[in-house]
Amino acid sequence: MAEEVTMNPYLPYPAVIDAVTVESEDGNLKTFRLVLESRQDREKWNHTPGQFAMLSIAGKGEIPIGIASSPTEKGGLLFTVNRAGVVTTALHKMNVGDPIGVRGPLGNGFPVDTDLRAKNIVIIAGGFAFTTLRATLIYMLEHRQEYGRITVIYGARTPGMLLYKEELRAWQERDDLDVHITVDREAPGWDGLVGFVPTIAGQVCPSPDNSAALICGPPIMIKFTMPPLVKAGWTDSQVYLSLENRMKCGIGICGHCNVGPVYVCKDGPVFTREEVQKLPVEF
């Protein structure tokens, strides 16, 4: 017999755009701060870094976007959105005060309170895939004593394409954090690292002992980041990746995001590389 379902997981929480920040020089990346309207919804909301949410624009549709803020941050949820399709283009035209829907949090997130505890953490990010890793990093800095050494390797095409520039500067000042920011090519006014993320990862290459690496970026970056890590003794079970696929329902029913037997939306988006290696390459 069918069991009673009381909650409707397809209904978004009404929310409002509270702040908009243009992140990149080309204007295609914006960070939106969203505040859920009802206090009840705000109190109920609880996410893990690495999870995502469905953003709803009435009449346009829904899009899955990684949550860029840490649950430890108050005052709203952050989403950094690349303008790419119908819904993201509509979102980019929206302003502070506009209504929006938020459905989530969805997916599994990084195991920040379990497998990653007490480990040395290496965060490797390329381009705008840095968003959920920002959430993870903020969370870890908030619970700094729970983790060992933390290394951040983050690269973008140009200095102007780097996300969260002020925070990057602040992180570089910290003693308890090892931050390497790189851009693909020399650029006027840039005195930091130059080179692709895999190259920098190979140079920095932290020891794999009691460590975990969280890697988000374009597939090509992930592909070339692995060899230097493997050479340094890293194994697939120490490497966490966040997959993305086209999604509709976000709760493992509609069939769009499956990679073989797993649903990226429900079983992921975070998988160890060991898990990913057992799957068909359909992401």
Partner: protein, 338 residues
């Protein structure tokens, strides 16, 4: 629950009563040889054809399209985005003359749809009266999929057709509820034994396809040599996915007109290239072979690995209506040999 019998002469009166209380649907011959689900008004007792109707009963649990909620669509209005769930817009329903394969498909779909309120609500409000099969048709193969021509999985009532009446066995409380009238009598010992014999005589499941496929290595099946041959003739029309009672993938879209909007979902098909295409243009299943393989792998490996049974009830619709004669039975055979 005790079985009852309704004489064929009385069946019309019973159905009329049901039509007063429920929305009753049955297979009706709309074109010669084509049966489709139509609302019954109680004037006729439909002849239940051998085999299945053209369209599966998933349409009752998963309408095409289905309104998920409504909203005010002016994005500039601060009051705009308040999703409102639509009222349940249907009466309790009876599906009369469902074949066991279609009934079983509802039970299988309920596994992934466990937390889906729309599907569950419809299932709760729908009573399935299944007519057990005396003989199969050329294209059906329920016994290969873990089902049976006399199976009752997913059904609320099982019906065996007798010479002069129908032998009615309620399976659930919902089914029992349909017998809450005065048209019935207790079956005679002879009728009971006829119904019994019918079941005993039915073709048994030939082998446990699901457990065999579950025990095989996923990537071995994925990399099987025959996928290219299966996919070669496929034209990605998606007919199989729309006719299949256990193909349940959907798309969600917004529709807005003059400040009012609704979010709808409707049947989608993994045969279509856009199904998986990212906004960036990247497509994880951009090639036809990958899409064809995904459909069969989902039914025969991914689904059983997650839920147990294979996601196929052997109704044979895809075999019957595939324009290029792709036959899932051959794919099953191929996978079993890997």
């Amino acid at each position: 629950m005790k079985p009852l019998v309704v004489e064929k002469a009385q069946a019309g009166s019973w159905l009329r009563k049901l039509c007063q209380e429920f929305d009753v649907f049955g297979p009706v011959e709309t074109k010669k040889g084509f049966y489709n689900w139509k609302r019954l008004d109680g004037t006729i007792v439909p002849h239940i054809p051998q085999g299945v109707a053209k369209v599966s009963i998933k349409t009752f649990f998963f309408p095409q399209p289905e309104v998920m909620f409504e909203f005010d669509a002016r994005p500039t209005d601060p009051e705009a985005f308040r999703p409102i769930e639509p009222h349940c817009d249907f009466n309790p329903r009876v599906l009369f003359g469902v074949r066991p394969c279609d009934a079983r498909s509802v039970a299988l779909n309920a596994m992934p749809y466990r937390e889906d309120p729309y599907f569950q609500r419809k299932r709760k409000e729908t009573t399935i009266v299944a007519f057990l099969c005396e003989e199969g048709c050329l294209t059906c193969f329920c016994t290969l999929t873990g089902g049976s021509p006399v199976g009752i999985e997913g059904a609320d009532m099982a019906v065996t057709e007798l010479e002069t009446g129908f032998f009615l066995e309620p399976v659930t409380e919902k089914g029992l509820r349909l017998l809450d009238y005065e048209f019935f009598r207790k079956p005679t010992a002879q009728e009971k034994s006829i119904a019994q014999e019918r079941k005993k005589g039915a073709q048994k499941s030939v082998e446990d396809t699901a457990s065999k496929l579950r025990s095989k290595d996923l990537m071995d099946l994925y990399n099987a040599h025959f996928w290219a041959a299966v996919a070669e003739s496929c034209i990605n029309c998606g007919a199989c996915t729309f006719l299949c009672p256990t193909c349940y993938c959907f798309d969600i879209q917004d529709e807005a007109l003059r400040g009012k909007g609704r979010r709808i979902r409707y049947w989608d098909s993994c045969m279509f290239p856009l199904f998986t295409q990212h906004a960036s243009g990247h497509n994880p299943r951009g090639e036809k072979l990958k899409r064809v393989r995904n459909r069969f792998m989902h039914k025969l490996k991914y689904f059983p690995d997650r839920f147990g049974p294979i996601s196929c009830v052997g109704c044979g619709r895809c075999v019957r209506d595939c324009p290029v004669n792709i036959d899932i039975r051959q794919v099953m055979e191929g996978l079993m040999e890997v």
